[in-house]
Symmetry: C2
Subunit: 160 residues, 2 copies
């Protein structure tokens, strides 16, 4: 099978979890294995970069389900810790499938012109974050971090 998403070939982690592993996770969480659910997981499994609800809905190959069902499922999948929600500040949430055992913590570099997404390995330094929490007396601290810029291709286009 060829890469389902060539423009995101630069993504590092390209493990495709087997579908039955995913359904097992559902079972363990006392969730029913429904057709929409499986179709959605299949889409997420094949496109391992942040997808909007709408994109997921559009990518449901063959099988159709209501957009509201996609929204509902991504919310429950997030609660279950099977997907991670990202916010690129454009008003629509994006989701990525998580690999079991991996908390999926990572960030993105997004092109402000063509929306190309690169997965980033860097993260805000943990010791700074800990110090920050202590300094202000906060507990259970976390962060949202995304980078924005102009990708190489759009720089080319700009010059032409």
């Amino acid at each position: 099978m060829k890469d389902p998403c060539p423009q995101h070939a630069h993504r590092h982690r390209l493990i495709q979890p087997a579908l039955n592993e995913l359904t097992d996770q559902l079972r363990r969480n006392a969730r029913k294995i429904t057709a929409p659910r499986q179709a959605i997981l299949n889409v997420l499994r094949r496109h391992q970069h942040p997808l909007t609800n709408r994109e997921i809905h559009a990518a449901l190959s063959g099988f159709e389900c209501d957009l509201a069902t996609v929204y509902r499922n991504l919310n429950t999948l997030e609660e279950m810790g099977m997907v991670r929600r990202f916010d690129f500040g454009d008003g629509t949430a994006r989701f990525e499938l998580l690999i079991e055992g991996d908390d999926g913590h990572h960030h993105h570099l997004v092109c402000t012109q063509c929306s190309t997404v690169v997965e980033i390995e860097d993260c805000f330094p943990a010791e700074l974050e800990t110090a920050l929490a202590r300094r202000h007396g906060f507990k259970h601290i976390s962060h949202k971090l995304e980078f924005f810029g102009i990708c190489p291709k759009c720089q080319e286009r700009g010059r032409s």
Copy 2:
């Protein structure tokens, strides 16, 4: 005049720009000095922490203007670089007045229970960001970074 916003007394930078400095900035940008505009700037000037359009609209003391006007003004003020837009991921934008000459770059620590906001001095290390941009060939790189956690007061409340 007492602090207009006691629960944000921990905010460090509490310079209140004079209203006429702000109107000067408008003039320099060929913007008309209108009553709604001044009222909005006045609100931002008095409450130097992130405010939603709705909050700003509600805080317009005495003077009333349409909510759409608030939205339009914050967009133009953002274009002019007089305010900075923040996104805490709750679906509504927040704005802070910028001090002239300061690019206003900073981040926040937000309580996920009571929404208390603390301004943060830390930032993602510039050298890491530069390296990141170079590594992926991106230009004009920037980032969005916000921290979330449980504030001291809510920790108390939780225990009781």
